[in-house]
């Protein structure tokens, strides 16, 4: 497991960097936030990303993808995160593509994968049911009636849930809340009758929804993966998602840190640059160290995902914890070091703080993953 990027990955990263800086700088995010667009991502940008082949990175070549792996898509997300670029790339290009390519049957792959590659279909992963991530707590029910399945329940905080075409939903086919067994994943068309999407306004101004399922009828063929063991499948999908999200959070931290460093080298007080004050220098140096640790953790987790290592779960929790702590630290310090302008809406640095806290909650926060790491390590 080599912790450096190969040539292809470096190329993808450079391409993504140029794309993000030129096509969607932070002003792009700001104008989406200020618009009345309920989708909160830009269709034209998504089309351009699709032309670059990004939604197909986790999809095999036979379905039109490029199969560049988790590392490939993670470095793209990292670069896009530097300018806070919103897009369906995470929920569709990572979660949707990975789930279907790895656990879908032949029919499902043929139906969905080419549509993901072309950018015409977006997906969302409906997991959580309470304010703290914990898939075992799933209560939503799926009842089999002849050749139909009836879904009832409520999913909350679904990433891209306000706009996604296809929902991947975790529901209970047996057992009780708190058990990891008895769960199954289903495909649900978001326009099905009985599906009610309630758009959420979150601090980071991105696309989320709570989704209520009232006697939603789907076909038996719409099971993703195996019946009753969907909990394990969902965990694997979540680990991939957490790793990609950690790469995104690393990108957020890097950008917030760079912006702050620039500010320390420009802003003068008491007749000198504030970057010459040791009180600020040492804190900047501490952040540099934490960022280096985060880079290594994310890199190791990406590699574990691509090599299907048995360390995947532990490294995924490691990456999400370290990336979360670092982004927490850097976004707080960034605001503080910017002084008064740091807490104004006019200045971009506050966006990183808001995005940071939301990303930290997605698929398990620092405490959740620290405990998971301890459980997996035998502490």
């Amino acid at each position: 497991m080599k912790l450096t990027l190969n040539e292809e990955e470096q190329f993808l990263k450079d391409t993504a960097k140029n794309f993000a800086q030129e096509r969607c700088p932070v002003t792009h995010f700001r104008s989406l936030r200020d618009s009345n667009d309920p989708q909160l991502w830009d269709k034209a940008i998504w089309n351009e990303m699709s032309k670059l082949g990004w939604p197909g990175i986790l999809i095999p070549e036979e379905y039109g993808g490029s199969n560049f792996g988790i590392s490939g898509i993670s470095v793209i997300l990292q670069e896009c995160a530097k300018t806070l670029t919103p897009s369906p790339l995470f929920a569709t290009g990572v979660i949707g593509a990975y789930s279907i390519a790895n656990f879908g049957n032949e029919n499902q792959k043929e139906e969905y994968l080419p549509k993901i590659v072309s950018g015409e279909m977006t997906t969302a992963f409906a997991i959580d049911e309470s304010s703290h991530h914990n898939p075992a707590d799933t209560e939503m029910t799926a009842e089999f009636k002849k050749d139909k399945v009836i879904l009832n329940g409520k999913k909350i905080f679904v990433v891209d849930g306000a706009s996604a075409d296809l929902l991947i939903v975790l529901a209970r086919t047996s057992g009780n809340k708190g058990e990891t067994s008895g769960l199954t994943l289903f495909f649900v068309n978001s326009n099905s009758s009985g599906v009610e999407k309630i758009k959420l306004d979150m601090a980071d101004s991105r696309n989320y929804a709570n989704i209520v399922f009232s006697d939603v009828e789907i076909n038996k063929e719409d099971i993703l993966g195996d019946i009753e063991t969907g909990g394990e499948t969902a965990e694997n999908i979540l680990d991939i998602a957490r790793i990609a999200l950690s790469a995104e959070m690393l990108g957020n931290s890097e950008a917030a840190f760079e912006t702050t460093l620039d500010y320390l080298k420009q802003r003068k007080q008491f007749g000198v640059l504030i970057g010459s004050f040791q009180a600020l220098q040492h804190r900047a140096a501490q952040m540099f160290c934490e960022l280096e640790l985060t880079k290594s953790s994310v890199m190791a987790a990406m590699r574990a995902a691509d090599e299907n290592s048995n360390e995947l779960q532990r490294l995924s929790s490691l990456a999400k914890t370290v990336a979360g702590e670092t982004l927490h630290l850097v976004s707080n310090e960034a605001v503080q070091m910017h002084g008064g302008i740091g807490v104004t809406d006019e200045y971009d640095i506050g966006f990183f703080l808001k995005r940071g806290r939301v990303a930290e909650q997605i698929y398990g926060g620092i405490k959740f993953h620290t405990e998971r790491y301890a459980n997996l390590s035998g502490f």
């Binding site: 004050f277 540099f288 640790l293 880079k295 620290t370």
Partner: protein, 397 residues
């Protein structure tokens, strides 16, 4: 068979024949273990420690990449990898711990004259001469470049007068590499030279310093009209600061390994200590507050280990990385010991006597010793300064 395969075969059979049984894993636990630092004053509880050092020294395998003309192994990078692997497979002990190997030899190779290399490097490799480092002085700690130990030109030789402090194992060492002031009128960084001094020279004396841990790995070293041949000057006169900085990088890289539990000298596992003193609940540490803090700490340790690996994969970078590793490794080590002491409760602060386990008493001493980690080799604050200025390019006032 490729050359590398052939080398592996030869290495394997050489180790098989030459690595004594007590120098391998699975050795009889009743045989005493030596910490082998070599040198003229060395003594051995186990004669096989000496034998192992002699055999490895003769092959030049204590510094396997150094060329044979200086007594090294003359091995390629790939061959060294094989040697390390084969030694790892049989659990072979490192034959020699040495400041000469870790710090002095690398700078001698870069800055020494041909004669100096031929004189000193083979003896370092064979463990015949034990070196110590004369950098800090009572008035020059973090501000090392203000050092005042002077070396005056008296014709054929230098006359050295002054005092060094924090000299590790000066009382056991044969030679010292020291920074001395040769240009009193020059700006402080431009008047320093790098000088090698035989500790047996008249006028050199040492005095151990007792630490808060009760142990004395360090000494004060005094120079009272010590005459040193001019041949012992490394590099140009007054150009010692460059060499000093280079050597500090080697030292920092070495000290940072303390941050890893697997690093040198640490057999203590925080999880088993916590389980011993706090009990277990279904395989988990029996107290949730400690468990959570220990888990956070282990996560950082894991991330730090991955960062060391990444630095290796990237081919190792310059001084900035060394400063980061030094800072993080030592701070992390201190934190780990604080956690172990806290998890041990009253047993973690035991000093002496029969009421306590030896392990617990040793932990107390080890915890106190870690307080020096973030001071020696440049304090944490100095490392933060290095990172701010050299890596982040932050301005000086």
């Amino acid at each position: 068979m490729s050359n590398l395969d052939k080398f592996r075969e030869e290495t394997k059979s050489w180790l098989d024949k030459n690595c004594p049984p007590s120098m391998r894993s699975g050795a009889d636990p009743t045989i005493p273990v030596d910490e082998v630092w070599g040198g003229r004053k060395a003594s051995y509880k186990n004669p096989e420690s000496k034998l192992w050092l002699e055999r490895m020294g003769a092959k030049g395998w204590t510094m396997p990449t150094v060329s044979k003309e200086y007594g090294g192994g003359g091995l390629s990078k790939d061959e060294v990898k094989i040697l390390n692997e084969e030694m790892f497979f049989i659990g072979a002990k490192q034959p020699l711990l040495s400041f000469g190997i870790w710090m002095l030899a690398p700078v001698l190779l870069e800055y020494g004259t041909e004669a100096q290399k031929k004189e000193h490097i083979p003896k370092i490799i064979k463990g015949e001469i034990r070196w110590c480092q004369g950098y800090s002085e009572p008035g020059s700690g973090s501000d090392l470049a203000s050092l005042a130990t002077k070396a005056e030109d008296v014709g054929e030789s230098f006359m050295v007068n002054g005092q060094k402090v924090w000299t590790s194992y000066a009382d056991k060492a044969d030679w010292i590499f020291a920074l001395v002031r040769t240009g009193p009128k020059e700006p402080k960084h431009d008047g320093i030279s790098f000088l090698l001094i035989d500790m047996e020279t008249k006028g050199v004396s040492t005095k151990p310093i007792t630490l808060i841990s009760g142990k004395s790995p360090f000494c004060e070293t005094f120079f009272d009209n010590v005459e040193v041949p001019k041949d012992n000057l490394i590099g140009e006169l007054n150009a010692g600061w460059t060499i000093a900085k280079k050597l500090l990088q080697h030292e920092r890289a070495f000290i940072s390994n303390f941050g890893l539990a697997a690093g040198m000298g640490s057999k203590r596992d925080i999880v088993s200590i916590a389980k011993k003193h706090l009990g277990e609940d279904a395989g988990r540490i029996g107290n949730n507050f400690f468990r959570s803090e220990i888990a956070s700490h282990k996560i950082k340790e894991h991330a730090f280990g991955l960062t060391l690996k990444r630095a290796g994969d990237e081919g190792g970078k310059a001084s900035a990385t060394a400063s980061m590793f030094k800072l993080y490794g030592t701070e992390h080590n201190k934190k780990r010991h604080e956690l172990m002491v806290a998890a041990s409760g009253v047993d973690g602060i035991a000093w002496d006597g029969d009421e306590f386990d030896k392990e617990d008493k040793n932990l107390t001493r080890a915890w106190l010793r870690t307080k020096g980690n973030s001071l020696e080799g440049g304090s944490s604050e100095v490392q933060l300064n290095v990172i701010s200025k050299r890596v982040l390019g932050l301005p000086t006032q």
